[in-house]
Amino acid sequence: MINMINRTVKNSNRQKNKAKESVGNFIKMCFFRVRFFLKRIWIAMVSLVLIALFGFILIKLMPGNPVDTYAQQLMMERGMKYEEARKLAVTLLNYDPNKSIFEQLSYYVKSLLRFNLGTSMRRPDVSVNLLIKQFLPWTLFISSIALVISFIVGIFLGSSIAWKRNSLMEGAISSYIIVSSSIPDYLWGIILVFIFGVKFKVFPVQGNYDILLELEGWPWLLNVLYHAALPIVAYSIVQIGGWALAMRGSCIGVLGEDYIYAAKARGIPEKIIVKRYLRRNAMLPLITSLAMSLAALFGGSPLIETIFNYPGIGQQFGISIASRDYFIIQGLTLFMSFIVIIANMIADSLYSVIDPRVRRDV
C-alpha cells in the first residue's frame, strides 16, 4: 500500500517537474529569441546613427556655400537685398552656416527624426520626401518585377545544370552566364534600346507610360507594362546570370551531401530529388542574398533609368548629381542606406526562421 502511494507521489512529482521544466524551457526560448532580435536591432541602430553622421559630414564637405549661391539666385530672381535673400535662403534650406557645429548637428538630427530628409537647393519647393513619394513607386515597380523574374529563372537554370554535368544545357547556360556578366547592365540597356527600340521598333524606349494617350484602368496598366518591358529585361539579363551561378555553386555543395545519395538509394526518381532535395536545400543560403537584394531595389540604377528616361528615383539621383544639388543627393543617399540597413536586419532575422538549424544560434 505504501509502495503504491510512493509510486503515485513520485509519478505526480515527475509530472509536475516535467511541466515546470517545459514552462521554464519555453520562457528560456522566448528570452533567447528576444535577445537574438535585440542584438540585431542594436547593431542596426548604431549603423543608422553612424550613417546619419556620415550624411552630416557629407554636407560639410560640400564645395561652396549653398546658402550664398541660393541667396544670389533669389536676389537675381526676385530682386531682394542680400540680407533678406540670405534669411529667406536659410529658412527655405533649413541650413544656417553661421551657427555653431552643435546647433547645426542638433537641428540636423531633429529634422531627421521628424523624417524630414531635406529640400532641394535649386528648387526649395521640392523636398526629398516629395521626390521619394513621386518617383520611388515606379522604381520599385520595375526593380521588384525584375528581381522576382531573375531569382526564379536563375534558380531554375542553376539547379538544372548542377545535376547533370557535361551536357548541352550546361554549355549553353554557362556561356550565357559568362556573356551576360561581361556586359554591365546599363550597356545591355543600350543594346536593348538599339535592337528593340530603333531597329525593330517593337518596344517603347522612353518613359513609363504614354501620357498623350490619356488612358485609364486596364488599358493604362497594359501600357505601363509595355513601357516597363525593356527596363525590366535590362535589369534581369545580368541578374539571372548571377543567381544561376550562385545556385549552381550552392547545388554543388548540396550534391556532395549524403542525403542525396540516400534518397537515390531509396528509389526516389530523379525529378523529385532535384525538386525537393536539391532545390530546397540549395536555396537556403541564397535567400539571405535575396533579402539583401531587396534593399538594392530601392536605389534603382541611375544609368538604366537615365537611358530609358524612366521616371524613377535613380533618374532623380542622376539629375541631382548632374546639377550638383547636394541636399537631394544627401537625402536620397541617407534614405537608401536606411533601407539597406533595415532590410539586412530583417534578412538576418528571417533566415533563422526559415532554416531550422540556425534557430539555436544566438
Binding site: S182, Y186, I190, F194, G299, N344
Partner: protein, 382 residues
Amino acid sequence: MSQQNRDIQQERIKQYLTEEKMFKRADRKEDYSLSRSIREISVKNVKKGFLAIFNMSTWGKAVQVIRKGGKAARKACTNAVKKWMVVLSLGRAATWKNLVIGLWKFIKMFFSNKKATAGTIIMLFFVLMALFGRLIIPYDPITDENNKYLPPSTEHLLGTDNLGRDVLGQLVYGSRDVLTIALLTSLITVFIGTSIGMLSGLAGGVIDNIIQIITNLFLSIPSFPVLLIFASFFTIEDPFSFAMVLSIWGWAGLSRAVRAQIVSLRERDFIQICKVMNLSKSHIIFKEMFPNIATYILINFIVIMRNAITGSVGIMMMGLADFQPSNWGAMLLRAKDTGAILIPEATYFLFAPIVAIMIFQMGAILLANGLDETLNPRLRED
C-alpha cells in the same frame, strides 16, 4: 616520447630555424644600388612610380643594374622570386631546380585548363594592345567634320566617330588608360582590403569589433550612388585619382572575406603548432597564413579589375570623369549624348567600345574561373 625521438625533433626544429635565418641573411647581402632602383620604381612615389612600369626606360635601367651587380644581384633576384613563390603558395623552393619544377607543374596544370588559357590569351592581348598598340595603330586627334560616321574601310577599320576621328585608333589609345585604371584600382583595393582584413582577423577583440562595424557600414551603403557622389566632389583628372575614388568603397567586401578566412585559419591545428613551436608572429602571418589566402586574393584581384571597369565606365557615362576623349567610357558617353543610337551609320562607333569591354570582361571572368579551378583542389575534376 623517448629521448631519441625528442632529440630528432629538436634537430628538425633547429634545421628549420636556421633555414629561415639563411633566407634573411641573403636578403641583407643585396646589392645596394639594385634595391635603390627597385625602390625607385615602387613605393615612394606610387603614382609616378607605378606608371613608370609602362615606361620602357625604367626596365632598361633595371636590366643594366642587374647585369652590373653581378652575382649578388642575381642571388637577390632569385631569393625575391623564391619568396614570392612561397607567398603565392606555389611551394617552398629550396633549390633552383625545385623552383623550376614547381613553376613548370603549375604552368602545365594551368594551361591544360581551357578557361584559364582562353582568359590569359585575351588578357595578354589587351595588355599588349595597351603597351604597344600605339606603335601599330596611330591615334589622330584631329577632328574632321566631313568624315563623320564613315563606314569601316581599309583606312579606318572600324569607321569614324561623330567628329571624324578613327574609332579603332581611339580604342587602342584608350585601352592604356582603361587598363591602368583597372590595375591601379585592383592594387589599391587589394592592398587596403587585405591589410584591414588581416588586421581585423588577427587582432580580435575591440579592434576587430570596431573595424567590423565600419566595414558593415561601407557594405550597407550602396556603392554606385556613393561613387557618383565622390566623383562629383573630387574632380577626376588622371587615372590615379580615378582609381582612388573607385577603391574607396570597394575594399569592404574583400576585407570581410579575408577576415573570415583568417579567423577560420587562426583556430586550425597547424597555426596552433606554430605558436607552440614559438615561431615569430611575422613568420606565422607571412609564411603560414598568407599562402593559404594568396590564391583567394589573386582571384579577387581579377574580379576587382572587372568591377573597376564596370564602375569606371558607369561614372564616365554619367559625365563625371571626362578627361580623355579616347577612353572607352568617354566614347560611350559621346555616343549616347550625340544620339548615336538613332543614327544608323554611327552603329560601329556605338558598338566598338561595348564589344571591347565585353571581350575584356570575358577574358577576366575566364581567367578568374580558370585560376580558381586550377588552384582550388575541390573544383578539380580529377
